[in-house]
Structures are given as structure tokens and as C-alpha cells.
């Protein structure tokens, strides 16, 4: 096919002025020799008549003559490249002539090429546009290292909403088989009846007599009165993660669970306790400064008296009044059993 195309090119280029072109374009002459060989091999081609003419035009001369012309042509080329280009342009056949001769085929080829280039260009443009369409997408986070790329692409939304009816689940024609994930399974009906279910329930109710424990006791604790011994769960003292003792009041815990806004209880209590402690320390420093300050002689006695009164509780027990004022002491200062409820706190089981 390539040879045919090259032959066409040759035949296009040649007929205007063969000598002129031979002199000025030795490369073309060389090509022409090759074409001539190819052409000789493809003599059965339908364009053979035309090519024969060309072949004669090239091959009619002797072996030495083209060499001479070639050297001459080189000399010409080195002299004036502009003239060479002009000669090349003038040697080309007029477009109208070419179009008249091979118009239909070349137009079609040209149109195909143009369409292909257009499609490529449009695709590239669209790809570039889509790439920058979402500048703040998750892909950018992956690029920045904020998200792990191997964890992406898994949790895409469901393309099918019905897990029984999706492309991976195909029921056989006679409904006896089902194909899932490429494997075919035979179906069998579930035979459990409601009577059988009730029989099992009765069997279990006879076999397992159980009451849910409502009270948790540590080993060694005494059983409180009015408690069914079946509802007691004995917890060993060294249980790894269960304890019968709770350092928090039950009502308080319930309020904490139901709290929807604001600062959590313990955080607030700790904050208030710390604030109080800070205030106490600040007042202590202030009073000490007043005591130490010898410059104000006239105010010396009154502050000293006030100081002796107000400093006493602060210095003796700076945290004693905090626990009294605050609803809850800070965690660090909290005594282990300060708010401890009954060690064996009973649990009233209330089914919702």
C-alpha cells in the first residue's frame, strides 16, 4: 500500500517538468529511482500506464548522467535555497489539477483525517476539562496525602438497590436454580413450620429456666432481703472488666446520658474547682503581698487584721470549701468513696 501511495506521489510530482526537477531536487530523483524499482515490480497495477511514462523519464538516461546532474544540483542548492524553494513550489502541480484527477478519493481521505484529528482534539479537550472540573474533589485529598488512595473506590453508592435483583443474581428459567457471582446453586425450600417453631420454644422453656439477673454482688457480700436468689449475679472480685462498685451516682449518670447541650458535667465541675483553686491562690498571693509590703505603713494594721481572719481557712485547708461549694470535686482530688453509691447496686431491669 505504501508503494502505491508513493507511486501516486511520484506521478503527481513528475509530469510538469522532469528536467527542472531533476536538476533542482536530487533527493526527489533518488526517490524516483526507488519508485521506479517498486513500480517495475508492481507492473500489474492499474496505474501502470502512467508510471511507465515516469519510469521512462527517469530511466531513459545512462548511468552517468544522473550522477552529473546530481552534483550540479547540489551546487545549485548551495547557491540559492530560496530559489530552490520557489522551484519546488512551481514544480508542484496545481491543486485544481490534482483535485480533478484524484479528487474524490483524496477528499474522502482528507475528510477522514480531519475528522480523526478533530475527534482526538475534542477528546483531549474534554479530558482536560473534566480533570479540572472539580478542583476540590476527594482525588485532590488523595494527591495531598490526606486520604489513603487504597481505601478509595470501595464505598461507592449502590448501583442496584435490591440485592435480590442485581446483575450478579440470576434466577434460572424453571426457578430451580439461581446463579450468583458466576456460580449456579440448586434451590431447596425451607420446611420449618410454625408448629415446629412452637414445639422448639416449648422444649427450650422446659429446658432453660432462667431469670435475668437484677442484682450484681461481689463474692462475700451478703444477700439483701426480699431478693430472689435466682436473680443474683455473682461477680468475682478480680473480674477483668466488670465491677460491682460504681463511683458515680445513678441519677447523676442518667442525667449525664440524657444531657444534650452544654458542657459535660464532670468537665464543668473540674473547671469550676480549678477556677476556685486559682482564685484562692490569687487571693493568698495578694494578701501575702499586702503583708510583706512594708511601704504602706498607714494601712499596715487593718490589712493585717483582715488578713489574719481571712487567711486562716485558706491556709489551713485550701480545698475544704471547694468540695462543699462545688457539686463535685475534681477528679484528681476526689476521694475514692466520696460519691460511691452502694457497692452492690441493684439493677432494676426495665424492659422498654
Amino acid at each position: 500500500m505504501a508503494s502505491i501511495w508513493s507511486l501516486q506521489f511520484h506521478s503527481l510530482c513528475f509530469p510538469v517538468s522532469k528536467h527542472h526537477r531533476v536538476f533542482q531536487f536530487p533527493n526527489v530523483v533518488k526517490l524516483r529511482n526507488e519508485f521506479a524499482l517498486i513500480d517495475a515490480q508492481l507492473s500489474s497495477n492499474r496505474l501502470s500506464t502512467n508510471r511507465n511514462v515516469q519510469l521512462r523519464a527517469v530511466g531513459s538516461s545512462d548511468q552517468d548522467q544522473p550522477i552529473k546532474t546530481e552534483t550540479f544540483a547540489v551546487a545549485l542548492n548551495t547557491n540559492d535555497p530560496v530559489a530552490e524553494f520557489q522551484g519546488f513550489v512551481t514544480s508542484l502541480p496545481p491543486v485544481v489539477f490534482v483535485m480533478k484527477r484524484y479528487g474524490g478519493r483524496n477528499i474522502a481521505i482528507g475528510l477522514c483525517l480531519a475528522a480523526a484529528f478533530l475527534v482526538i482534539a475534542v477528546r483531549a479537550f474534554m479530558a482536560r476539562k473534566s480533570r479540572y472540573k472539580k478542583p476540590g474533589s476527594v482525588a485532590d485529598l488523595v494527591r495531598r496525602g490526606q486520604l489513603r488512595s487504597d481505601r478509595r473506590g470501595i464505598s461507592r453508592p449502590l448501583k442496584y438497590e435490591d440485592p435480590f435483583n442485581n446483575p450478579l443474581v440470576k434466577v434460572g428459567k424453571n426457578n430451580s436454580t439461581v446463579e450468583m457471582c458466576g456460580k449456579v446453586y440448586r434451590l431447596a425450600p425451607v420446611t420449618l413450620t410454625e408448629e415446629e417453631q412452637t414445639i422448639h420454644q416449648k422444649r427450650r422453656s422446659r429446658a432453660y429456666q432462667w431469670k435475668r439477673p437484677t442484682i450484681f454482688l461481689k463474692e462475700g457480700d451478703s444477700i439483701p432481703p426480699d431478693i430472689d436468689p435466682d436473680t443474683i449475679r455473682w461477680i468475682p472480685a478480680n473480674h477483668p472488666f466488670a465491677t460491682t462498685a460504681s463511683d458515680i451516682d445513678e441519677n447523676l449518670a442518667q442525667n449525664n446520658v440524657y444531657q444534650k447541650h452544654g458542657v459535660p458535667f464532670r468537665i464543668q465541675a473540674e473547671h469550676e474547682a480549678l477556677q476556685r483553686k486559682l482564685e484562692a491562690l490569687q487571693s493568698e498571693q495578694k494578701l501575702n503581698n499586702l503583708v510583706i509590703d512594708p511601704t504602706h505603713a498607714q494601712d499596715f494594721e487593718r490589712p493585717f487584721k483582715l488578713n489574719s481572719k481571712s487567711q486562716e481557712p485558706v491556709e489551713q485547708n485550701p480545698f475544704s470549701n471547694q468540695s462543699g461549694n462545688s457539686p463535685r470535686p475534681p477528679k484528681s482530688d476526689q476521694a475514692p468513696n466520696a460519691f460511691r453509691s452502694n457497692s452492690s447496686s441493684s439493677e432494676e431491669m426495665q424492659k422498654p
Partner: protein, 319 residues
């Protein structure tokens, strides 16, 4: 080994034979249409009162309670329901690992009880599906006061009912193994239960006992999921079939999950199986189980064995 559904109107006792093993004759019911295929692209219809408080329990450890909780929970979230999954395993919590949320658990129910944080601060919202939230009951090293362990979960459920963004549709409670104090805590607020078992005799015995305890406690709506089923072993009669298990326990089937190596991979990655694309066999089974849970339906037909795939005349050419 997945399963399909008949029409809800199909009576259970319609089928006269009892295929105990795989050698049972071909069922005669197959002439009737198996309405396994539901309507195309519809959201499952939520049955029952919300929030549905479901405890996922087993008795025996290692049968897949936590895997079931994670996968069913995220399936429900993908179906569009709001879900709160509570890891009630006090000492040995794992649900956060399966969900890949282990680094985001700062507060637990114990901190909420102590007043260190509010309940909404202890809920860990999944970034993949924002209608899925995780709540852990305690940190591994902290001790839960058992005096109001069960009560605490009841309070949590009540608080979730009345929260501002609305009550969740489902509250799934991942129960610890055994029938110890953790089990009692986990079943206290539950209205219904999903019992996970494997087709081996040890877990079946524990499952039967746990069902008995649940029924004594007043939880009547109990369905079972049979996990880690291998069709090749069932065919060789080395493993009990699902129908055998159902005959032993007498419970309605919620789902049958095949053994799948993808389960371990998904656990390693912190991504539940149902999020895998393309979906795996076990992931599809979990999705179907979640669908049935929403509609309070149960399986009416199970797939018992694998058949060689019939190939067409043009199958050689890819047809």
C-alpha cells in the same frame, strides 16, 4: 451459599418433603414460581416501630457476631436507614476495628456516664456513610460498673430516641460471647435478636442455650444467621446443611453466609465486606440478610449445593 425469597404469601408448610440432607429428592415445589426477585430498584420497606433495637448474639465466640454487625449495619446504612451500632463487648471490643474507626473512638458510654462527655460526642460517625454511627460501651482497660450496665444501655436508647436529629431507624447491639454479665447488659434494651451460628455442633449447642435465655427474657422475635457455610463440605456430607441446622434450632432464617476469604481481607483493611466493589458472595448474602431484617422477613428457600454451570452451544466463543 446464598438464599432467595418466595412471596411472603407462600405458606411455609406448603412443601411436604423434608430435605434433611443433600441427598434429598428434587423438590416438587419448583413448578411454582419462586418469587425471589423483588421489584426492581425499590427501597426496602421498614417494618415495625423505630428504633428497632436488635441484639446480635451467639453464645459461642468466633462465629461472626461482630462481622455480622458491621456488615448488616453498613448495608442498612446503604439502604438509606440511619443506624447506630453499639459495641457492647466490654472487655474485648472489636467492632471499631472491623469498621476502620479505631482511631476515632475517644469517648465511650463509660465516659458519658461519668460526665466526661455528652452522648453525641461519644457517637463516632462513619465518614463513608454518614447515617451510620458507632458507639462503644467502654475502653478495653476501663471497668464497667455492672450495677447499671443494662440500665445504661436503656438510657442510651432512650436518649437516642429523643435526640434532635431524629431517632435512628436501627440500633444494633453487638453482644459479647458467653452468657456473662456482658450478655445481660447487651440484651437488656433489645426487642429482637439475631442469632449467629456456624454449622458445627459446638456453636449449635451454645446457640440453643442462648435462644432459651432470650426467650426466658421475653425476646420472642429471634432469627438466625448461619455463617461460614461451605457448599463443598455440605455436598460431601462433612458439614450440616442449613436445613439441618434449622431443624435442630427451630428458628426462622435471616441469612446464610458462605465462607469467604474476603472476610479476612476486609477485616484487615477496616472495610466491611458489603462495601467491596465488585460485591462478593458473602457481601451479597449480608446485604440480603439486611434486606430481610428491614422487612422482618425470613428466608423461604435456601441454596443447598452448587451445580455445574450449563454451557450453551456458543459458550466456546464466549456466548
Amino acid at each position: 451459599m446464598l438464599s432467595l425469597l418466595h412471596t411472603p404469601s407462600t405458606p411455609l408448610n406448603r412443601f411436604s418433603f423434608s430435605p434433611k440432607t443433600l441427598k434429598s429428592p428434587k423438590p416438587q415445589f419448583l413448578k411454582t414460581p419462586v418469587q425471589s426477585v423483588l421489584q426492581w430498584n425499590r427501597k426496602p420497606q421498614l417494618a415495625g416501630e423505630t428504633p428497632r433495637v436488635v441484639v446480635i448474639t451467639s453464645g459461642k465466640g468466633g462465629v461472626g457476631k461482630t462481622t455480622t454487625t458491621a456488615n448488616v449495619g453498613l448495608s442498612l446504612a446503604r439502604f438509606g436507614f440511619s443506624v447506630v451500632a453499639i459495641d457492647a463487648d466490654v472487655g474485648l471490643r472489636n467492632l471499631d476495628l472491623l469498621l476502620g474507626l479505631e482511631n476515632r473512638v475517644n469517648y465511650t458510654v463509660v465516659e458519658v456516664l461519668n460526665g466526661d462527655c455528652r452522648l453525641d460526642q461519644a457517637l463516632v460517625r462513619d465518614k463513608r456513610w454518614s447515617n451510620f454511627e458507632l458507639l462503644c460501651i467502654s475502653k478495653p482497660r476501663s471497668k464497667l460498673p455492672l450495677g447499671f450496665g443494662g440500665k445504661a444501655l436503656v438510657w442510651v436508647v432512650d436518649a437516642l430516641k429523643t435526640r434532635e436529629e431524629g431517632s435512628p431507624d436501627f440500633i444494633l447491639i453487638d453482644c459479647p460471647a458467653g452468657i456473662d454479665a456482658g450478655f445481660i447488659t447487651a440484651i437488656t434494651p433489645a426487642n429482637e435478636a439475631v442469632l449467629v451460628t456456624t454449622p458445627d455442633i459446638t456453636s449449635l449447642r451454645d446457640a440453643d442455650r442462648v435462644i432459651g435465655l432470650l426467650e426466658c427474657d421475653g425476646i420472642r422475635d429471634i432469627k438466625m444467621m448461619v455463617n461460614r457455610v461451605r457448599t463443598d463440605m455440605i455436598r460431601g456430607e462433612d458439614m450440616m446443611s442449613v436445613l439441618d441446622i434449622q431443624e435442630m434450632l427451630g428458628l426462622a432464617l435471616l441469612g446464610v453466609i458462605p465462607e469467604d476469604t474476603e472476610v479476612i481481607r476486609s477485616t484487615n483493611r477496616g472495610f466491611p465486606l458489603v462495601l467491596n466493589q465488585p460485591p462478593t458472595l458473602a457481601g451479597l448474602a449480608f446485604e440480603q440478610a439486611a434486606w430481610r431484617l428491614v422487612e422482618q422477613d425470613s428466608m423461604k428457600a435456601v441454596m443447598v449445593e452448587e451445580e455445574p454451570k450449563k454451557r450453551g452451544f456458543f459458550s466456546f466463543f464466549g456466548g
